[in-house]
Amino acid sequence: MAGRSPWAEDTARAVLAPHVGTPGALLPMLHALQETFGCIDESAVPLLADTLNLSRAEVHGVIGFYHDFRRTRPGRHIIKVCRAEACQAVGAESLLDHVRRSLRVDDGGTTADDAFTLQVVYCLGNCALGPAVMIDETLHGRVTPARFDTLAAEQREGAP
């Protein structure tokens, strides 16, 4: 999966460099930072504000608007469970309950062993083969609770 390295300003500057001068660069920059650090650290805000000549409030406003951007470092793997209509029609709500219970996490939360962060999403484009789950960037279809347990166990075993 993507990186989760601790904040380092020189790394951050290097990550932002290719986007400097691009019109409307803030979203690509936020994505690039999250790709490297796993989240948008508070220290990124003044750096972005300086780089783009925006106020800190503006940067905060943008980060807060988008569901994708996290303010805290996630677990080793990110589990996205689809809760949109087509997946609901084939049991997404009960799958999601199972995921919350079996991992002992709330939506957006990270498991105690730091293995998983649960993110509820609305459509992964796999609506004919739901319920859909994405673990890191691997998409899974027709996910039953039992299948989910297998997938989660595989991730745990493969974990560093």
Partner: protein
């Protein structure tokens, strides 16, 4: 011996049910047996219930289908002689003869699942670039006129005539104009944009280029949702290849024209699919909806005249120019011309992509193509056109899928997603979800949407709990009216659609506690 070509999709849906493992097992088994096999990774044919769908090419060029294949089936398939297209319990005969596909009218999706999506040679060999070649010989006015004559309307939801929008941007003054392609595909139950971008990305690039030539725009932005990492990777690769081929950049296709394409990734906001919110997002801001006027066609991205079109609208352009607007018009009915890629989703036996002319009935789509529910239970409700679309009851499906017919019935086509629910669905919960989703995704700019949707959730919770049912139903009705009339965009404006249609067709679901008490 020339190797036999075997095709395995690399589309995200196919991967989600194990296509990579199937491809690996296939290659390993071929090596073990000393069979000469060339493995080609394609997009999806859209027959998603058969994924992973493996195809074998015969010397005469016909392709034979097997699916759904698991790695465990591979030795048996070889044993049965599938490389010679021998019969097998997983076999479906020639792919083109599978009724689900045979009865479609594939125009936009003709190449999808057939070619290697990132092979420029495949693209050309299968008729690619004919549209842009034609466009390069035409005047911008004539390109816009051809699109208008085809009857093509926007496939993103609002159904606005595409040629008219292009002509407005063409005629708008300004040194810099843009094409902004809306690939945000946020509607639950829709995936046609994704399948197209993963299966035939050069078609979208060609469509964008044609829009550029038609309007004088020299740059395009593709706003692609972050939930689609596979589509992002395929489009990135395709853009790089197109640049290397001289299809994008300066002097495209050996002409004097410039067209550059930039890919931007969304960030998980549904409302950023609304065109002006998308423009704000492309500018690096919060995805708040803009008040109109000005129209994006006059002052859009960075204040410049901008065409905003859905992926499927732009992807229809190349065939219209290559084969003529008359060809495209022959499909469809009334004022809904051409083909529409419908997406059968949810509780459906044969889910997938069905591209046919407008006018097909919902019943045909769900029962003839889709085979009814996956659970085998009766169809109780169908939501057409995404989270802002109305619910249609299972016994009311004799409606033609046509912009005007659906509108007259209080429904809408939207992006062509069709979500099927069986008789275990709780429609009061679905109505609540519609309000909850609006509250979650509202851009916050206007009160009826931002606050109304939160109130809607609370009111529906009280109704579900049996508290003051009649008073709360009246309150819900008022809330819906305020949202429908007082919202700046269709997010707040159309959320009452699913809520009110659920109430109208399934009132019994809003009366559960009362009934439970009586029983």
């Amino acid at each position: 011996m020339t190797p036999t070509r075997v095709f395995v999709p690399r589309d995200a849906a196919a991967l989600s049910v194990g296509a990579d493992a199937v491809a690996e097992a296939l290659a390993a088994e071929a090596t073990r047996r000393g069979e000469a096999v060339t493995l080609v990774r394609t997009g999806s044919r859209g027959l998603l219930w058969l994924e992973p769908l493996v195809e074998v090419e015969r010397p005469d060029g016909t392709r034979h289908a097997y699916g759904p294949v698991t790695p465990a089936d591979i030795p048996d398939l070889f044993e049965a002689g599938f490389l010679e297209a021998a019969p097998h319990p997983l076999g479906h005969g020639p792919t083109a003869g599978i009724p689900y596909l045979k009865e479609q009218q594939r125009v936009t999706f003709a190449r999808c699942g057939v070619i290697d999506p990132v092979s420029p040679g495949d693209y050309r060999a299968h008729g690619g670039l004919a549209g842009v070649t034609r466009a390069l010989e035409m005047t911008p006015e004539d390109i816009c006129a051809a699109i208008t004559d085809s009857g093509l309307r926007g496939r993103g939801g609002a159904g606005f005539p595409v040629g008219v929008k292009w002509e407005t941007v063409r005629a708008a003054p300004g040194p810099q104009k843009y094409i902004a392609c809306n690939a945000d595909e946020g509607d639950g139950g829709s995936f046609a944009d994704r399948i197209l971008m993963e299966g035939d990305p050069f078609l979208l690039i060609e469509g964008l280029t044609i829009a550029g030539l038609a309007t004088g725009a020299t740059a395009g932005f593709l706003y692609l949702r972050s939930e689609y990492p596979h589509a992002i990777a395929t489009m990135r690769a395709a853009i790089r290849i197109a640049e290397a081929e001289g299809w994008l950049g300066d002097g495209i296709h050996g002409s004097a024209h410039t067209f550059r394409l930039h890919l931007r990734v969304g960030a998980g906001s549904y409302v950023c699919g609304e065109e002006t919110a998308m423009l704000e997002s492309l500018e690096g801001k919060r995805g708040e909806v803009r008040a109109r006027p000005p129209l994006p066609a006059h002052a859009g991205l960075f204040g410049c005249p901008t065409v905003v079109n859905n992926v499927l609208s732009l992807a229809a352009g190349p065939s219209i120019l290559a084969e003529g607007p008359e060809m495209y018009r022959t499909f469809g009915v009334g004022r809904s011309r051409g083909t529409q890629p419908f997406q059968l989703a949810g509780n459906i036996r044969r889910g997938g992509l069905v591209e046919v002319g407008f006018g097909v009935t919902l019943h045909d789509l769900i029962h003839r193509f889709g085979g009814g529910t996956r659970s085998g239970r009766p169809v109780r409700a169908v939501q057409v056109g995404g989270p802002l679309g109305a619910f249609v009851p299972g016994d009311g499906l004799d409606l033609a899928a046509d912009y005007e017919v659906l509108a007259a019935a209080g429904a809408m086509l939207g992006h062509g997603g069709i979500v099927v629910f069986d008789d275990t669905v709780d429609m009061a919960a679905q109505a609540r979800f519609a309000m909850e989703f609006c509250a979650l995704e509202s851009c916050g700019k206007c009160t009826p949407c931002r606050i109304g949707s939160q109130r809607g959730v609370e009111v529906l919770d009280r109704i579900a709990a049996g508290v003051d049912r009649d008073a709360n139903l009246a309150l819900l009705d008022d809330l819906c009216t305020v949202m429908a009339e007082g919202s700046l965009c269709a997010m707040g404006g159309l959320t009452p659609n699913p809520v009110k249609s659920a109430l109208r067709h399934f009132p019994e679901d809003f009366d559960r506690p009362a009934r439970a008490a009586a029983e």
